[in-house]
Amino acid sequence: MQRKTISLPDDLAEFVDENHINLSRFVQDKLRELAESDSDQDEITEEQAKEIFQKLESLGYLDG
């Protein structure tokens, strides 16, 4: 696993200490959430991909 260093303002650092938050785990979970929401946004269905493919074929993009 790769190590990355992050900086926190004093008040948030105190909050992390006071609440015994596992910062590494917390950041990993948030990043995973973000990565998954990004990929959801770009996802197109197989049906849509087929329609785009047909449109591009009709416009001559596949003859190049």
């Binding site: 785009i52 493919f53 001559g60 190049g64």
Partner: protein, 253 residues
């Protein structure tokens, strides 16, 4: 920083009709402008990828919307786009490196997946993308980019109908006028208005990018390697598409 892309716009139409295109005319009065003669393949997918990664086509390796019968997706491009590298608030709309075009930090669903050839659908998409762009610009993002692709589709199918082509340049001029309401020409904010490639009759360009006959109909024109570039407060100088990406990175670093 603002980057306004108009796929396939050519000086061959803009320069002789400046009096009918007041916003292009204003840009030419207030900014620097030139022709960028694309050295690599003048196809939109690799060009917009170069423009927004800062890499030449041979470096990012992305060749087209479809490769080996596979529709290409963002993850098929082995390169980082500038907005993925910058630690600034970026809002990106409709960059046609892939189909459907790429959005970042905002959502937009193009009419006909961004590859329509129907004039009514293209006009609906132009208006819808203009409204969405204005909505995003109201948020005053640090880095904003949008690409209007409709002119490319119209040019491919109607290049010989110069009245229609000019009408679409007027519509793109109107787009520029509305978007430039959000740009202060007296500020030091960088502005780039550009096309990825130009347009011409078949055989005039260095490379034929599409067949003349397609299942949809006969194409009347094709890409030309001479692209439009208008800049204000931008450095270093842009000579090739990838220099745009380098200029964006340079400004924010």
């Amino acid at each position: 920083m603002k980057v306004l892309g108009i796929d396939a716009a050519t000086w061959d139409i803009i320069k002789p009709h400046r009096d009918e295109l007041p916003n292009f005319d204003k840009l030419m009065e207030e900014c620097e402008y030139k022709t960028v003669t694309v050295e690599e393949t003048p196809k939109s997918a690799p060009l917009w990828t170069s423009i927004f990664t800062g890499l030449r086509q041979e470096e990012h390796g992305h060749k087209d919307f479809v490769v080996d019968d596979e529709l290409q997706k963002r993850e098929d491009i082995d390169a980082e786009f500038v907005w993925e590298r910058l630690d600034v608030g970026s809002k990106i709309l409709q960059v046609p490196a892939v189909i459907p075009p790429i959005n970042y930090n905002t959502e937009y669903e193009p009419e006909g997946f961004g590859v329509s050839s129907d004039l009514e659908e293209l006009e609906a998409d132009r208006k819808k993308l203009l409204e969405k762009s204005k909505e995003v610009l109201e948020e005053d993002p640090e880095f904003f980019a949008v690409v209007f692709m409709q002119l490319d589709r119209v040019s491919h199918f109607y290049w010989n109908d110069k009245d229609l082509i000019l009408e679409w340049y007027r519509r793109m001029d109107e787009v520029l006028g509305e978007l430039l309401e959000y740009y202060d020409f007296d500020s030091d904010e960088p502005l780039i208005v550009l096309s990825d490639h130009g347009f011409a009759e078949f055989g005039e360009g260095r490379v034929q990018t599409l067949p003349e006959e397609t299942p949809h109909g006969t194409l009347e024109g094709d890409h030309h390697e001479d692209a439009v570039l208008i800049t204000n407060n931008v450095e270093p100088e842009i000579n090739q598409p990838e220099d745009v990406g380098k200029a964006i990175l340079s400004y924010f670093r």
